[in-house]
Amino acid sequence: MTTETPKPSSVEIDAVKVKLADSLIGVALEWSEFRDQYRVVFPATELLKCLNAFKFAGFEQLSDLTAVDLLEYSNATDRFEVVYCLLNVDTGLRLIAKTYLNEPDLTIPSATSVWSGADWLEREVYDMYGILFSGHPNFKRLLLPQEFQSFPMRKDYPVKGRGERHNFPVITRAES
């Protein structure tokens, strides 16, 4: 479908692109669009610099932070994808910012200094995928028990689990 006047969001995203090009000189950003949604891939080595630039470009809210394990994804070259869903609260513009990570180095800087809402979201990503966020103020598992060993949302973890549930230590009333 072709429209004569450009969509308001495409004007806004062009302004964002210009801003980001100014503040991120020398950083390779890869833009794409799917179903009216703008996506950008940025290098994990420049993570904090990029995130700060995104916030400066108007994306004040981190809607969601999640990861995808690309182990079984066809034609994927990287292992993990970390996704930052960003939102400009005033204009309603959304941006999906992604970066790729590979084993063995699964440590990236924490975004808690940029958006305080990243706190629990990063803990959940660690809990499920084992991606480490350096500089997080209270870094530990969020949903699973602290003594849990695996990262269940990884694709090499079976859906039925590995029997952890049956081997939970039983604490008697006398011991507690």
């Binding site: 799917f34 995808v68 394990d69 809402g117 949903l143 859906v159």
Partner: protein, 406 residues
């Protein structure tokens, strides 16, 4: 449970002197489900409140990678079980965005009516139970009486009161009947009277006002940076509603207001919820009289739509159509792309980030639960509050543990 949670990192030994620790939950009437708070108290003042969650973690997102787009709807139902159909609508909204399916006007209207009924459903529970926790049982009964009517409306449309599993990719399980329309009309007619009673009982009740005003204050900046959405954000002055700002379903056709407040406290959050119920009634009133005629599945589309059950049982074409839409090797294929799509659920922005891998199931089905981000703001809201305020703040942000832990 891990004892290290008791050692709050923010307090040094000197500050710790004279404090005592209270374990709140996981089994406590005011937590509604299972969540735990470790409170550091100085007398009755809450110095620090550390939430400990995960008791209801059931691996929903992992199941989302195993079940197909239609099957997983039975799981998303069970996330926010206070407004189950709002989850279904959000899930299929995201799936349809990934697949690029346009809904028929009739389907859009029916889904809109249900989304708004669910908003009333959710807000009634949030308000009713919070008042109950604060010591008033009457309003709770008024709220639950109305919720019962909504359950009956759900049952009439889908056959299920609670976990309806009513939406399908590109449509709905069944079309609605005239009976159902009459039930919704009756509800719309009767609700304002109950609303007046409820509002008089609660919002002008001096005890309730004093227990909630200036309690659990969240500033606008904290709400934005912390990821708050929905009534919690709007009560803090963030005037943002996805129904207006990113119109989906049939919301563009209706006239309604976005309710917001500047207070940022528990009372403001309740006020926003109360006002939103009236706006929802306004939307339902406009929608129910104007439901377009026509099919509930997009016409002429092949595998993505479920065939009418009468056709399945009576014709070979219908049966083939049915098989094509349920057999894994014949189903529709999702593009190898990813989308994030969100709807305005009663509690806030309920989003799904779906990665498609060329099959009819999600490679990754991430839920963005509003409860998780709201609950992460809880310790900030509790600053300077008293022990008795814990239940008021918990009630006002309406934490649903099944959605929180998934």
């Amino acid at each position: 449970m891990p004892l290290e949670l008791l050692e709050s990192p923010d307090l040094n030994a000197n500050q710790r002197e004279g404090l005592w620790t209270l374990n709140f939950g996981p089994q406590h009437p005011a937590t509604h489900t299972t969540l735990r708070l470790v409170l550091q108290l100085d007398g009755e003042m809450v110095i620090d409140a550390e939430p400990d969650i995960g008791f209801l973690h059931s691996g929903f997102e992992k199941l989302g990678e195993v079940l197909d787009f239609n099957q997983y709807v039975t799981i998303v139902d069970r996330m926010n079980y206070i407004s189950p159909m709002a989850n279904e609508i959000a899930w299929h909204h995201a799936v349809e965005k990934l697949l690029g399916i346009d809904l028929t006007p009739r389907c859009k209207y029916i889904r809109t009516i249900f989304a708004e009924l669910m908003r009333i459903h959710d807000h009634l529970l949030c308000l009713g139970t919070c008042v109950l926790d604060l010591g008033g049982a009457t309003a709770f009964m008024y709220a639950f009486n109305e919720r019962e009517t909504i359950y009956e409306i759900c049952e009439r449309a889908s056959g299920q009161r609670f976990h309806t599993s009513y939406t399908r990719v590109g449509g709905l399980l069944y079309d609605v009947t005239d009976d159902w329309v009459k039930m919704v009309r009756d509800f719309v007619r009767n609700f304002p009277k109950v609303y007046r009673d409820f509002s008089g009982l609660v919002m002008k009740n001096r005890i309730f006002v004093e227990r909630t005003r200036d309690v659990g204050v969240l500033s606008r900046e904290e709400a934005i940076a912390g990821g708050a959405t929905g009534p919690v954000a709007r009560a803090s002055g963030v005037v943002r509603d996805l129904r207006r700002d990113e119109p989906y379903l049939a919301y563009e056709d209706f006239d309604f207001d976005v309710c917001a407040s500047q207070g940022g406290d528990c009372y403001a959050r309740f006020q926003v919820r109360m006002m939103e119920m009236l706006e929802s009634i306004k939307i339902i009133e406009q929608a129910i009289e104007n439901i377009p005629a026509g099919p509930i599945f997009a016409a002429g589309t092949g595998k993505e739509s479920m065939p009418d059950k009468r056709e399945v049982y009576r014709s070979i074409e219908g049966l083939i159509h049915h098989f094509e839409s349920v057999m894994p090797n014949r189903q529709m294929q999702a593009p190898k792309e990813s989308v994030y799509a969100a709807t305005e659920s009663p509690n806030g922005e309920l989003g799904y980030y779906i990665v498609g891998d060329g099959s009819f199931r999600a490679y990754r089905a991430r839920t963005r639960p509003p409860s998780l981000l709201h609950f992460s703001l809880f310790s900030r809201m509790m600053r300077g509050c008293m022990l008795s305020d814990v239940v008021a703040v918990l009630g006002s942000i309406n934490i649903i543990a099944a959605e929180l832990d998934r």
